[in-house]
Amino acid sequence: MALAGGELTNVLSAFARLDDLDRRWLYAVLLLVIIVIGFVRVPLRIAPSKEAAMFFDTIESLDGRKPVLLQSDWDMGTIGELRAQFYNVIRHLFRRNQRFVIVSGNAIGPRFYRPAMTELANEFGKVYGRDWIAVGFRLPDPKGIAIEALSRDFHRFARVDDTGRKTTEYDWLRNVKTAGDWSLVISVSYGEFREYITYFHYSAGTPYACGVAAISSTQLYPFLSAGTMRGMLVGSRGGCEYEQLMGRNEFGTRFLAGQSAAHLLLIFAIFVGNIGALAKWVIARKESR
């Protein structure tokens, strides 16, 4: 049924009002959706992406003879995206009985990984010093110079661990010195550290995999194709994928459900806003005639 001229103008004006909608209404609806979805258990199942599966397979292929170096830089600004990544990568290392050393390139980083490690160690019955150690904030800016120093002599670079004990006192770290003495380098941070490609992958053949915030991920795909990165976890999606690869359904999955709901709302708002803009344009065109 075709609309009469007057009715069409009324409909168009109603749609055109959408274009002038106070943005605060959108914020209110977005907050409401986020709050509500936080209390709902969404049975979200996602297929792991190629880059997350590569990350998982890289850890699966480790034989445990050499330790893993893990740079943990997540903090308050990235906790939403990187917490699930960090937790599940550590769970994977613990499950594989793979020893590792945590280092941070963020002054606030140790305040976040320390309580997380206490929780995870209790979950797996792992012991500090025997299964892993952490050396704290050792990678200040410029990161390139610090990473180069780390690749040359770990013990001179780190000196002591979080407990003040010399790193040379740990038996399983005694033979670790240069980049080639690590089995894998992982970073969980806002962005990637390409210096690991230069000083670990290229110089010593030690593979590098990273977990990054979604905002940093776009430019990193070519590195995966080139084989200079052996896996990548992208934001909250990467955390959820890894969690599901580990056969778990916890914070990462719940968080991605919240994120998906917020994205759907944004897509809907873009659609509605464009209808409003289109209606406004049609009205303006009609009036100019």
């Binding site: 704290g136 050792r138 410029p142 000196r159 776009t218 070519p222 994120q259």
Partner: protein, 223 residues
């Protein structure tokens, strides 16, 4: 009230105060913003000392001084002297000192950049050379071929878009640059989408902290 619960109260109030900007600019937001900046600067300064300077510079230097190790004293003193040079920036007469420290950092960074270009960028250039027809196990992999063809199309057209050495009046070149622009827009769209994803993640985490961890803790206590 424990120290942790005071911390939770401050955190929840700060989140609400920061988010109040969405309603409009207000004093509560300004207070929270200044609080955050002050805390961050103070915390980073303290953490840098406790986590980095004390174990990496002060302790070895003090150890070298007590054992009278000449190399340790020289290294510790050199690091101190070079570090102090940065502060020369604040006085016109000593400004040149900061350039010494800057020169060391720039020199090292420049040297690294040259190395990085070969080790990081060259593998990417090498993998850009793809055949539009991909053969897998003696057969044509049609999906792989399509992928490679699209990749090559994007590569060539985007490179043409940024080729300004001649006037792009030729209709074929014009069309190619338009396709290149289309690919660039796709790329920017992906960047923007990922940016939104990161920003939303920050919002969701904080909103859940207030509504679940903070408010939820009262219900647990009451229950």
């Amino acid at each position: 009230m424990t120290l942790a619960s005071i911390g939770n109260w401050v955190a929840a109030l700060a989140v609400v105060a920061i988010l109040s900007l969405l309603w409009r600019e207000n004093r509560l937001y300004r207070v929270a913003e200044h609080l955050l900046l002050g805390l961050t600067v103070g915390f980073v300064a303290a953490a840098t000392w406790a986590e980095l300077l004390r174990p990496k510079w002060y302790q070895p230097f003090a150890e070298a001084l007590s054992t009278r190790d000449p190399l340790g004293i020289f290294v510790g003193f050199s690091a101190l002297a070079l570090g102090c040079c940065w502060y020369g920036l604040y006085f016109p007469k000593t400004e040149w000192l900061s350039r010494l420290a800057l020169g060391v950092v720039l020199g090292a960074a420049a040297g690294q950049a040259i190395k990085n270009n070969f080790t990081q960028q060259m593998p990417l250039v090498v993998t850009s050379f793809r055949s539009p027809i991909e053969i897998s196990a003696g057969k044509v992999d049609w999906l792989g071929s399509l992928n490679n063809s699209l990749f090559l199309l994007a590569l060539v057209t985007v490179l043409l878009f940024f080729f300004f050495s001649f006037d792009q009046k030729n209709p074929a070149v014009k069309l190619a640059t338009r396709i290149g622009r289309f690919w660039l827009m796709v790329g920017f769209g992906v960047y923007f989408g990922n940016t939104v994803m990161t920003r939303l993640a920050v919002l969701i985490e904080r909103v859940w902290f207030v509504t679940q961890d903070f408010v939820g803790s009262f219900f647990v206590r009451v229950g």
